[in-house]
Subunit: 190 residues, 3 copies
């Protein structure tokens, strides 16, 4: 009886050891795949989505959604120093006077403005991402409501993943229309 | 002999049980990774590709490819009501008169027009996706063949995955150049 | 003693066989997932990043980074024939005279130019990818530093994955501003 028990246990140990090793290998192998190979796409996809929702909120006066794309203590810097925190950003943006609406009797529909993002470069390490991207703005405040480019520049972003959601922890905006907001020379990307 | 057989079988069972448990865990773990973690990126990648191919087909008069980006009963709405089904969409678009080609003796190469998409926001649940995105159009029908913006607007899309392929089930186009096609106020995104 | 050894070894073999089969299945299953299901998103994400870094390098006179987006024997063709190899591309691009800088006494910040990419369509098979995409260029060399579109066209790319990094093995550029660089009729995409 004793011997039989031993013959049960020992093979179990001898076999479980390589099983465990194999198990560890597969677990590592899968995890490796996820973290090193699959996650860049997953994180990038979520960040691209964040970048798009930011633009929709910005151009459609949805300030609540706009500031929610930042972390609670996130920083926005358009070249006038750092505005930190959702409340501060909201207050500063609210205080910027909007362009005059067209005269009501123009007979035309309201003009609009649109910010677009392109050329998104992203470096991602764990829950932090560094981004560079171009932006350009168009509007149609003319009698033909033709789209017209106004300005462009680039973003230098830091983003963090909070509870599975990517948010801006810092967005620095360069604008090539205004001298003091224009980027210094040199490639800001890598 | 009998006892030996038993001592073969019992360890096998005792060892295979944890092996099976581990196996189940890894299988679940991998599957979980695929379905819950990787799929947003995968679906988004395929939808971005769809959006690009749609534009190439549209701008290059490839109407067959264009309508094949819709489901068989897909809906296109440019602000003139819903056109449903690939055949209907094809017929309506064919009936729209093209802009005049330049005089043959202008000595210039043919002008072209290009639709671009940007700021793609996507919500995806299973085989259905809801999209918001900006579009803008440029052309070069001038003596310098300089690119000129003409118009812009946004898309509100519903897409479905059919046999592994994402297709438009409904595309509603807003165009800020034309009053009756312009979007109502408010953020159309989330 | 001899018998006991046998009773250790045989179960080990009998159990390890299914373990190995299971192991193989999981390994294959995970790999399969990676290569067939997750890789389009992953490869596309890396290629989009490559496309963005290419633009930053191009517009910021970072020629070293620019040519490093090509394979060692990569080909660039802007419509003047094929320039092959990083060194050749560098030499040719260096020899193109830059546009005049504005007079130093203009009081304005330096004007800039920006290439943007959009509508990226990608077919990927293993370590090779075929791309089609739109590009458009804007600059602000005017007294208001307003963004102005200048030209647009499309890319026809072949990319290869070398040591885990996607690089251009061939980029053919079409430019709708210049007759001899304009694309022939027909949809260049699929």
């Amino acid at each position: 009886m004793k011997k039989e028990t031993a013959s049960f246990r020992l093979p179990a140990l001898k076999v479980l050891c390589p099983v465990m090793l194999l198990a560890g290998f597969f677990l590592f192998s899968c995890r490796d795949r996820k973290e090193e190979q699959s996650s860049y796409a997953e994180d990038r996809a979520l960040i691209e989505d964040l970048q798009a929702r930011y633009m929709f909120a910005l151009d459609n006066d949805d300030l609540g959604t706009y500031v929610s794309t930042f972390t609670e203590d996130g920083i926005l810097d358009i070249g006038e120093g750092e505005w930190q925190g959702r409340e501060t950003i909201k207050q500063v943006l609210t205080s910027i006077p909007e362009e005059e609406a067209p005269a009501a009797d123009s007979g035309l529909h309201n003009p609009t403005g649109r910010h677009n993002i392109s050329n998104i470069a992203l470096k991602i390490e764990g829950d932090t991402a560094w981004g560079r991207a171009y932006w350009f703005h168009m509007s149609n405040d003319n009698p033909q409501r033709k789209a017209q480019l106004n300005s462009y520049g680039h973003y230098e972003d830091v983003m963090v993943k909070v509870d599975g959601q990517w948010l801006f922890s810092k967005r620095k905006i360069y604008n090539e229309e205004i001298g003091k907001w224009a980027a210094p020379e040199g490639n800001p990307c890598w």
